[in-house]
């Protein structure tokens, strides 16, 4: 399903405009871009943002005592056209000629190409290996990479039908990656949710 269109693109990621105002894909969720040569580029959402289409026009307060929240959009139908929601995506791998790779593709995805959501099968296929975590730890956007990684783990865990074995493997992979930065490690593990991380349960929680 198409969920957005690429409006900025680089070798490490891209920015896409969401088709739905105020509804960017979830932080950490996987998206993909299909190229004409059947290559599929995978990325993880690193931030979402809603602002004026024209950067020189700042949003102003529109609520009143009786008109607020969703009603504001009904009272000001033009907002659907003068605001836009965009999201950032860090490239985390690709599938080309039937082979899955967890590293950056040779070229950035083309500008204006569609961004699509991924199916459960595609999530499972892409996340059976966890080498892509390394790319997620590279900052892309303003959200700290530890939060993006934790959000990705939470989202994939849901998509895989609460796969505890996968979650346990993911936590160990993260522990390996961040073994020299215990503060970052705890930040990620705590953001994943202590109750769901077997490693933390074994250690009696982060507190």
């Amino acid at each position: 399903m198409r969920i957005g269109e690429i409006i900025e693109t680089t070798s490490s990621g891209f920015v896409a405009e969401s088709f739905e105002l105020n509804r960017p894909p979830a932080l950490g969720s996987l998206v993909l871009v299909r190229l004409p040569d059947e290559t599929a580029l995978y990325g993880a959402v690193t931030y979402g943002q809603t602002a004026g289409v024209d950067p020189s026009r700042r949003a102003v307060r529109r609520s009143t005592d009786v008109v607020f929240d969703g009603a504001i959009y009904e009272q000001h139908p033009e907002l659907e056209h003068i605001l836009r929601t965009e999201f950032g995506v860090a490239l985390v791998g690709f599938v080309a000629a039937g082979r899955l790779r967890h590293h950056l593709p040779a070229r950035p995805p083309p500008l204006h190409f569609s961004v699509q959501g991924v199916s459960r099968e595609e999530v499972c296929y892409f996340t059976d290996g966890l080498l892509y975590f390394r790319l997620l730890l590279i900052p892309y956007g303003d959200v700290p990479p530890q939060q993006v990684l934790a959000a990705n783990v939470r989202w994939v865990y849901e998509q895989r039908g609460h796969d505890d074995i996968w979650l346990d493997t993911a936590a160990r992979e993260i522990a390996t990656l961040l073994k020299n930065d215990s503060a970052a490690l705890l930040t990620v593990l705590y953001a994943i949710d202590p109750g769901d991380v077997p490693m933390l349960r074994e250690q009696g929680g982060v507190a």
Partner: protein
């Protein structure tokens, strides 16, 4: 910095002190003028204005001819449950005297906002490059009277209504077309009757069709500097002829001179939020060509400022349409996120119509390249070229 701010600074202080010094006097005369307005019989004023207009000497000022009472107010009715407001605006890239290619660009922007049970919005612009003889001259057959300056402004008005007339053909009703600025094309006044009629013909054609479709049209003038009503009071006070002020011996001379600097928006400062004045007719000379589309106006307190709203006579004389115009504009200002409020439909139409400096350059480059591809060379004046280079 070539501008000597050091020289201007003391003059600015002087001006600010002068304004502050004259303020109490202005306020005193404003109260006196408002008392006069409230106490004056509209029929008597109408009679005097008509008498003056029938004199050989034309009135030196624009005056407001009251259709109803002078100080009567009308509270805002509620808008219908479902309705639309179509704001429109236009801008242009005028013909460049310093270029060998003669053409101009018109950009008509509009915001079609629908409120009620099925809210929606269409924000659009229609752009066109005008380069043929019928675009460049008022009289293309004899290549006479080039369209530029005020005539280009009038052409924009014509084009705006033509675009909107098309937009409204399948649009929802009731709908109001709101134009940014006056409906009275007073800038054409210095042109010959032949030129005026040639330009206004198409404008009236579009207005005819809007009238047939039952779609009212209104011009919205924010922070109006009109003095029509103040001038009418001056005519009332005048004991001789309004163009012989230097010989005036009237005891009301000071009030009359104060009225010369007073704006109608100040005079009608007693309007409360949402209230409008009664209708007034304008004495603008160009309106003699307007026929059934002769423009009338009222003042409206939108909350934070008093604006002038101009409507064609067929709107002013139709109580239902006039009520809808009043209600829709007032509702627009209630929806405005700014203070003083400004109709969102006009704000968004402006955003659609505006041509940025970058876009102007881009159009220039596109034309330059297209002409080059045809083996032609676009020549610019030495003056223009030197200003672009600004070499040191």
């Amino acid at each position: 910095m070539p501008l000597k701010l050091g020289l201007i600074g003391p003059q600015v202080d002087d001006m600010a002190q002068t304004i502050a010094r004259l303020s109490p006097e202005h306020d005193r005369f404003l109260t006196e003028a408002q008392d006069l307005l409230r106490g004056l019989n509209a029929d008597a004023l109408r009679e005097k204005l008509r008498w003056q207009q029938n004199q050989q000497m034309r009135l030196p000022w624009l005056v407001a001819m009251p259709r109803g009472s002078l100080s009567g107010t009308v509270t805002s009715p509620a808008p219908p449950v479902d309705f639309s407001v179509v704001g429109c605006d236009a801008s242009s890239i005028p013909p460049d005297r310093h270029s060998s290619v003669r053409c101009y660009v018109l950009n008509v922007g509009y915001a079609f906002l629908t409120y009620g049970r099925r809210p929606s919005a269409v924000l659009e612009a229609q752009s066109q490059l005008c380069f043929r003889d019928q675009d460049l001259y008022v009289f293309p057959d004899r290549r006479d009277v080039p369209i530029e300056g005020a005539l280009l402004g009038a052409r924009m008005e014509v084009e705006t209504l033509r675009v909107l007339q098309g937009v409204m053909e399948n649009g929802a009703r009731p709908a109001l077309i709101l134009r940014d600025g006056p409906l009275i094309l007073w800038t054409l006044q210095s042109e010959s009757k032949e030129v005026q009629r040639a330009l206004l013909r198409d404008l009236f054609g579009s207005m005819d069709r809007l009238r047939e479709a039952g779609v009212p049209l209104a011009g919205y003038i924010s922070y109006t500097n009109s003095r029509d009503l103040a001038n009418s009071l001056r005519v009332w006070l005048c004991l001789t002829q309004p163009n012989k002020c230097e010989h005036c011996q009237s005891e009301k001379r000071d009030l009359c001179m104060a009225l010369a600097k007073m704006h109608d928006r100040e005079l009608l400062g007693f309007l409360t939020e949402g209230e409008r004045s009664e209708l007034f007719g304008s004495s603008s000379q160009i309106l003699e060509e307007y026929g059934d589309h002769r423009v009338e106006f009222f003042y409206l307190n939108v909350g934070g400022e008093i604006v002038r709203v101009e409507v064609p006579q067929w709107v002013g004389s139709d109580a239902t349409l006039l009520e809808f115009v009043h209600a829709a504009i007032n509702d627009q200002c209630r929806r405005s996120p700014c203070f003083p409020p400004y109709p969102p439909a006009l704000l968004e139409a402006h955003e659609q119509a505006v041509i940025t400096t970058v876009e102007r350059r881009l159009v220039e480059e596109i034309i330059d390249r297209a002409v080059g591809r045809q083996g032609q060379r676009l020549v610019r004046s030495a003056k223009d070229d030197s200003k672009r280079r600004r070499g040191v």
